[in-house]
Symmetry: C2
Subunit: 258 residues, 2 copies
DNA sequence: GCTCCATGAAGTGTACACAGTTTGTGCAAT
DNA sequence: ATTGCACAAACTGTGTACACTTCATGGAGC
C-alpha cells in the first residue's frame, strides 16, 4: 500500500517533467486531473490503490483543493472509486469487466454509426474518414508491417472512429464510448497486440462500414460496427487465453511501448 | 437568469424541508448533491441555468466547499456542464438528445439482459422478477387502470429492470443505464404518458424477456429488450407529435404529478 | 452616436486552518 | 497468547480568506 503510493509519486514526478509544457490553461485542477489520469492509465498506480490527498498535493506542488477537485472529476469519469471519509481508490477492472467493456462499446458504437447513417455525413467528417481509409490502404498495401506502422495505424483507426462518432452528433454517446476507451487495457493505446492480418481485416471492416453509412443503411452499418468491435474482443480473449496466467500488470504497461 | 436562480432558491428550500429526515450520513457533500440533483430532475432549475456557488451555499446553509464537491460530482453524472472560471450550468437536453437517449438505453439494456441470459439468474434476482411479473399480472387483470395504479406499475417496472441489471453483473453498464434514466424527461418517473394497453403490452414484453433469460437465449433476450425499450421511445415520439409544439417545460414537470 | 478601454463588482480558483472520522498501535485484562 | 479498549497519528471533511478571472458598467476619445 505504502509502496504503491511511493511508486506513484516517482512516476508522477516523471510525468510532471514530461508534460510540463502541455499544462492546461488557467486551471490547476484540470492539469492535476490530466496528470493523475495519465498515471492511472499508464499503469503507474496499481488497481485498488488508495490515493492520499496530502501526498498527491505535495508531489504535484499544489494544495489539496485542486487535488480533491481532480479526484472527484476522475471519479465521475469512472476511473476512481469514492468512499465517504475514506477517500479515493483506483477502480479495479477485473478481466471479465474489461472483456465486457468491449461488448458495451460494440453496442454503443453500433448505435453511433446507425445515427451517422440516419443523419448523413457532413463533408468535414466524410473527408476525414476518406483520408483515414486511404491512409490505411496505403499503409497496408505493402503486405506487412514495419516498425512504427502499428502506432501509425492506431492514429488512423482513431480518426475513423472519432469522425463517425462526431457524425452521430450525440454527446452522451460520445462520453460513454470515451469511458469505454479509457478502461485500463481496453484503451486504444494498448492495441499493440494485433498482427498484420488482424489489422487488414479490421481495415476492410472500416471500408464496409463507411459504405453502409454513405449508402444510408443504418441497421447494416450498426450490425457491421458491432461485429467489428466484437471481433476485437475476440482477438483479445484469444490472445489472453494463449497465456497460462492473466498477468494484469504486464498488460497494463504493454501499450506504453515506444 | 437571475430569475432562474431565485426560482431554484425557493424550490430548494422546499426540498430541504421535505427531505430533512433523509439526509445522507456523515457527508454534507452527498446531501447537497442529492438536493441539487432533485432540483434539476424535478425541473426546478431550467436547462442552461448557471449555478452560483455562493448563492447555493447560502441557500443550503453550508460553505462553498461541499457545494463545489457536489457540483463536480453532478457534472460527472452528466447533469451539469462545467467551464473553467465560469462555473457550472445545467446541461441542456434538446428533444433529439432525449429521444436518442432511449436508443442508447435500448442498446445498453439489451446488452445487460444478454449478459443476464448468459450468466443465469441468481435465486434472489429470479424471485424479484417473478414477484414483479406476478404483481403486474394482478394489477392488469382488471382490464383497466384506477388512480395510483400507474405509479404502482412504475415501481414494478423498476424492480424488473433493476433485477435484470443486477443479474448482468457489470458496474459500468449499470452506471451508464442509470445515466440514461436520469436524463430529464426520459426518467422513469415520467412515464405517466402511457395508457392501459401500452402498459399491457410492455408487461407482456417483460414476460417474454424473462422467458428468454431463464431459457438461456442471450441474443433473443437482447433483441426483445431492445425492441421493448425502443417501443417506449416510439410511444413518446408519437405522444409528442400529437401536440403542435414541443413544450419542453411542460414535459419536465409532467412526471411530478401526484 | 459609436467604439474602446478602464474600473469595479461578482464569481470562481486556491491555499490553509481546523474539525471530525478512520485506523493503527500499544497496553491491560483475561 | 488473545481479545478488548483507549489513545494517538493520519487522513478526510468543512469553513474561510484571499487571489485571479470574467463580465458588466460607464466614461473618454474619436
Amino acid at each position: 500500500m505504502e509502496q504503491h503510493l511511493s511508486e506513484m509519486t516517482e512516476l508522477i514526478d516523471q510525468t510532471i517533467e514530461g508534460t510540463a509544457g502541455g499544462m492546461r490553461a488557467g486551471n490547476r485542477s484540470l492539469s492535476v486531473m490530466d496528470q493523475i489520469r495519465e498515471a492511472i492509465l499508464g499503469g503507474a498506480v496499481g488497481a485498488g490503490a488508495r490515493l492520499n490527498e496530502v501526498q498527491l498535493s505535495k508531489t504535484l506542488s499544489v494544495s489539496r483543493t485542486p487535488v480533491r477537485a481532480a479526484l472527484q472529476a476522475l471519479a465521475g469519469e469512472g476511473l476512481l472509486d469514492y468512499a465517504p471519509n475514506r477517500g479515493f481508490t483506483v477502480r479495479e477492472f477485473p478481466l471479465p469487466a474489461i472483456v465486457d467493456a468491449y461488448d458495451i462499446r460494440a453496442a454503443l458504437e453500433g448505435v453511433a454509426v446507425r445515427f451517422a447513417a440516419e443523419r448523413g455525413l457532413a463533408t468535414k467528417e466524410r473527408d476525414i474518414i476518406e483520408r483515414a481509409l486511404a491512409a490505411g490502404d496505403k499503409l497496408l498495401e505493402r503486405g506487412s508491417f514495419e516498425a512504427g506502422d502499428l502506432t501509425l495505424y492506431r492514429d488512423i483507426n482513431g480518426d475513423f472512429h472519432d469522425a463517425l462518432l462526431a457524425a452521430a452528433g450525440n454527446r452522451m454517446l460520445s462520453e460513454m464510448i470515451r469511458i469505454c476507451h479509457h478502461v485500463p487495457v481496453s484503451s486504444t493505446r494498448n492495441i499493440v497486440v494485433f498482427e498484420y492480418h488482424d489489422v487488414r481485416r479490421r481495415h476492410d471492416d472500416h471500408h464496409r462500414i463507411f459504405q453502409a453509412v454513405v449508402g444510408r443503411e443504418p441497421w447494416r452499418a450498426e450490425m457491421l460496427m458491432r461485429e467489428h468491435v466484437a471481433s476485437i474482443k475476440t482477438s483479445l480473449v484469444g490472445h489472453l487465453s494463449e497465456r497460462k496466467t492473466y498477468p494484469a500488470a504486464e498488460f497494463q504497461t504493454a501499450g506504453e511501448s515506444p
